[in-house]
């Protein structure tokens, strides 16, 4: 090789990583080789810290077609169809340029679905930001919303839901996670592999520039003051080109001319040529001069690791090259043949006939894991788990309720989701703001079924109790899906944490994963993919984000017409509460907003009964007995009831006497966030039937009150004294308008 080499000590790899490299190739590395290895060894690409922990998650199940490892999870949903879904973080780019960061996040997650061969049909998004009233938070929220919206709307993929949390720990390090799902015929599954030597490697789409160079290592670094002026790392999304790429790719797959398919995300071409070769047991060889560059003076290493957006990598049989180019030409998309598949097991890059890279593919794709230390975090010692708030006086309750309904984490997210097209594709039957999960019908694919999707997280509970917090997120996500009538079938996760080299942070990571794993096992839900984002740590102020797993659970409805939303439907319908309320007030909105306290017991998941409760709820809805259903989560019983009332424009009358609970305290009955609880409304004649369904397994289910025509929220205690009496319209006005007022400068 004639390319300049680089000495061992100048390479930014750990000792173990260098050992692995030099053991395999007994010579100096060229500069492009070193750059490729650095990027592929970054936390972002290699999962080096998390890889030893993630196997705790269950990944097997009868429906699983592709589990972790592929670009997206794929599950069998019957009728010859597969659901493809994935969730990913775009935290660091979004913190610096919220518009382009969020937009390119959407662009990236769409590619993950597309490169399995599925048409992407729905998007989800989750934001973790500082307090809503803070100007920096408003700036971020305004632009991430616009970024998600502009990109998703322009490519014509409907938004199916999302999740927002405001908490001071995200003030500097916001977390922006995005998800996408698609549906395909099972037999059209495309895999990211290059199986046959001689096949051509084609790069489709945008030109390659300096944008996102070192993006991968960049994404694995903490935010420092320097990052504010970090250049070249911010990428510009081009949804219009992406739309054409989606159509061209799907047309090529339909035409049967695609042998392998890979998106270009982190580590760009480096990742494509190495992962397709390694997965196919082959090798790849490309000619670098064939790449279309946006800047003529780019160095070879820059070209190889650039993360320019809107590019796709195809493996095509020589005889199909003409056919695929006709498809690309129809959409006026640029493309070029980069090289071909070999049988050497190596990734070879030539530049003007000189070999500048010659590395075993597995060296790039399978770097060694890092051995991280974990230690019990000191802050947890300070928490008093036995704490219970002082019981509020009756005359304080109305105001407490008002405050909770107007708090950052309870108010309506309408200002955000109105900016997203929720209708395009004609799939959405339960839309944002109507139900606990988004429901999409599959009539386009000739099926009566429906899929339900939800994003969930609870960073505050994960902070106070990483194990039960993690388990709780999983339970909550499955409950969301069940509440629209869908059986939860699989999940994918995004684990957002601080610096993994800090043992106390790493301990929380391990515990959250254990909690998630135990809940997934109890619920019988396989994990089919995931993403880990570390280094969400603000070095300047030395704060890490709260441990923030975000979970994407997908559910299946055999008959989509059976789905329910959570609006009250008619006066005089009965309200039934499923599940037991426990004195679990730790991490609740009540503890946080009213008592400003971090103490108390975080809700635990009842692993033994979790699956039964979920399937009973699904069966109740399937049988048509429930007119509405809502799971009880943030804000507890009071908030869940009030959301149902606001959406249905009807009031309620409740008596707390009938709330199945381990305590008689009204504040706990009203605001505890115990998992495994649901509210179901039903016609009078169906109430006994519903209660009987749950009684079979000794799950508490109790009639607690009625829907009223009167637009009032009324709750009595066991002595029939009125505890809460609030006008629906007043509560609704504040709840519905506060975010808009904050964001539009009216506050």
């Amino acid at each position: 090789m004639t390319e300049k080499t680089i000495s061992k000590d100048k390479i930014n790899l750990t000792k173990e990583e260098k050992e692995a490299v030099y053991k395999a190739i007994k010579r100096d590395l060229t500069i492009p080789e070193a750059a490729m290895l650095e990027v592929m060894n970054s936390e972002h690409c290699s999962y080096k810290s998390s890889r030893p922990v993630l196997p705790k998650l269950p990944t097997k199940g009868p429906r699983v077609i592709c589990g972790p490892g592929e670009d997206a999870g794929v599950v069998d949903i019957g009728d010859g169809l597969a659901l493809v879904f994935k969730l990913e973080s775009h935290n660091h780019p979004s913190a610096l340029d919220p518009f382009n960061g969020a937009a390119t996040g959407i662009g990236g997650i769409i590619r993950d679905i597309l490169c399995m061969g599925a048409r992407p049909i729905g998007l989800l998004d989750s934001f973790r930001l500082g307090g809503l009233s803070d100007p920096h938070t408003k700036w971020l929220l305004k632009w991430v919303t616009k970024g998600v919206g502009d990109y998703g709307n322009c490519v014509g993929i409907a938004n199916a839901g999302g999740d927002i949390e405001f908490d001071p720990s995200f003030q500097i390090n916001c977390l922006i996670n995005v998800g996408c799902f698609g549906v395909m015929r099972k037999d059209e599954l495309a895999l990211s592999r290059a199986t046959t030597p001689g096949n051509k490697l084609i790069l489709l789409g945008g030109s390659t520039g300096r944008d996102g160079i070192g993006g991968a290592s960049f994404a694995s670094k903490n935010i420092t003051e320097e990052s504010e002026s970090d250049r070249g790392a911010v990428q510009i999304g081009d949804p219009y080109m992406k739309k054409l790429i989606i159509e061209a790719t799907l047309e090529a797959i339909k035409a049967g001319v695609v042998d392998g398919l890979k998106d270009l995300g982190a580590a760009g071409v480096t990742c494509s040529i190495s992962e397709t070769a390694d997965a196919g047991g082959t090798g790849t060889e490309i000619k670098l001069e064939n790449m279309r560059l946006r800047e003529s003076d780019m160095e070879p290493w820059e070209i190889l690791v650039s993360e320019s957006q809107e590019r796709m990598f195809f493996v095509v049989k020589p005889e199909n090259v003409k056919k695929i180019s006709e498809i690309f030409d129809k959409y006026e998309l640029p493309y070029e043949i980069l090289g071909e598949v070999t049988d050497t097991g190596k990734c070879v890059v030539k530049y003007n006939d000189q070999i500048i890279v010659d590395l075993p593919a597995h060296l790039l794709t399978k770097p060694p894991a890092a051995d991280r230390k974990a230690s019990y975090p000191k802050y947890l010692n300070k928490l008093n788990r036995k704490w219970l708030p002082k019981e509020p006086k009756t005359n304080e309750l109305n105001d407490i309720c008002r405050k909770i309904m107007a708090s950052d984490n309870i108010i309506s997210r309408e200002w955000v989701y109105r900016q997203y097209d929720t209708e395009v594709g004609l799939h959405s039957t339960v839309k944002s703001g109507y139900g606990d999960a988004g429901v999409f019908r599959l009539s386009e694919f000739d099926s009566k079924k429906g899929v339900a999707v939800t994003f969930d997280g609870n960073s505050h509970q994960c902070y106070l109790d990483p194990y039960y917090g993690g388990a709780g997120v999983m339970m909550e996500a499955c409950s969301n899906v069940a509440a629209v009538g869908a059986e939860p079938i699989a999940m994918t996760d995004c684990l957002n944490f601080g610096n993994p080299e800090h043992p106390q942070v790493f301990w929380t990571f391990e515990k959250v994963v254990e909690g998630l794993a135990d809940a997934s096992k109890a619920l019988g839900i396989p994990c089919v993919g995931g993403n880990v984002s570390f280094y969400n740590h603000d070095e300047v102020n030395d704060v890490a984000v709260k441990p923030s797993p975000v979970i994407f659970v997908a559910g299946l409805l055999e008959d989509v017409t059976k789905a329910v939303n959570y609006s009250f439907k008619a006066p005089d319908e009965y309200i039934i509460l499923i599940g037991e309320t426990k004195a679990e007030i730790g991490g609740s909105e009540f503890a946080k907003v009213i008592h400003k306290s971090n103490n108390g017991q975080v809700p635990k998941v009842d692993f033994a009964n979790a699956k039964t409760i979920i399937s009973k709820v699904v069966n109740t809805i399937k049988s048509g007995l429930a007119t509405a259903c809502h799971d009880i989560s943030k804000g507890g019983l009071f908030v869940a009831l009030t959301e149902m009332a606001m959406n249905g424009d009807l009031g309620y009358e409740i008596n707390l006497k009938r709330v199945p609970s381990e305590t008689e305290r009204v504040d706990i009955k009203l605001f505890s966030e115990s998992y495994g609880r649901f509210l179901i409304t039903a016609k009078a004649e169906d109430v006994e039937k519903i209660i009987a369904i749950f009684a079979e397994e000794e799950i508490p289910a109790s009639f607690i009150g009625k829907v009223t025509k009167k637009k009032k929220l009324q709750i009595e205690n066991s002595n029939n004294e009125i505890l809460i009496d609030l006008p629906l319209n007043e509560i609704k006005q504040t709840w519905k308008m506060r975010m808009e007022e904050e964001m539009e400068g009216k506050k």
């Binding site: 709307n153 322009c154 014509g156 219009y240 739309k243 109105r418 097209d421 959405s428």
Partner: protein
Amino acid sequence: MPMRVIVIQFSGSTCDRDLVSAMKDVMGWEVDLVWYNNALKHLEGYDAIFLPGGFTYGDHLRAGIIAAYTPVMKKVKNLANEGLPVLGICNGFQILVESGLLPGALIGNDTLRFSCKWTNLRIETTRSAATNIANKGDIWRVPVAHGEGRYFLDEKGLKDLNENDQVVWRYVNDNGETTKVANPNGSIENIAGICNLEGNVVGLMPHPERATEAIISPWGSEHGKFFFQSLENYFGGR
């Protein structure tokens, strides 16, 4: 005989397949979905031409402007002038305006935000090819989803538009009144859709193709069907 229509798929259209689904699966029409460059040679022989919603050319410069300059639009203009119904929905409406088939301009929403919501549309005239089975004053529930839908016209143009009975729909509240709150984009006089003098070229920002099936409507309504049924009626109940 069912209606035979063509949907032109532009570079960046996103609602083309939805329109096909509503007209084919719900209405039972014969529908051809044709890529714009291929449509050039295949525009003849249809009962109507549809320009679907979406983000042609990424909405760059101005929504609809670049698509308005594609060669196929010259042909569409000729056919429209001969009286063939041409219907533009959302981005299709923007293309009709930018190509001069309909007067006015569609500019950025006054909220400065994209807005996706269900709206009430009041029928202002039954003269157009898309409203002739309705009654004046009827209200249809149809969703909008756009960032540049604020209809604008100068004073003189607006006077003519009203006098010539070219305003087809206005955004109204549940009581049928044209209030500010009912208007999702700040369009002048709450205008949601208009037609040409003859009534055969119709453009509107809301999406009737998203409102033809109860299951995807939060209200269980199917008012979008009236739009397509009107067109059938325009052809004498074919």
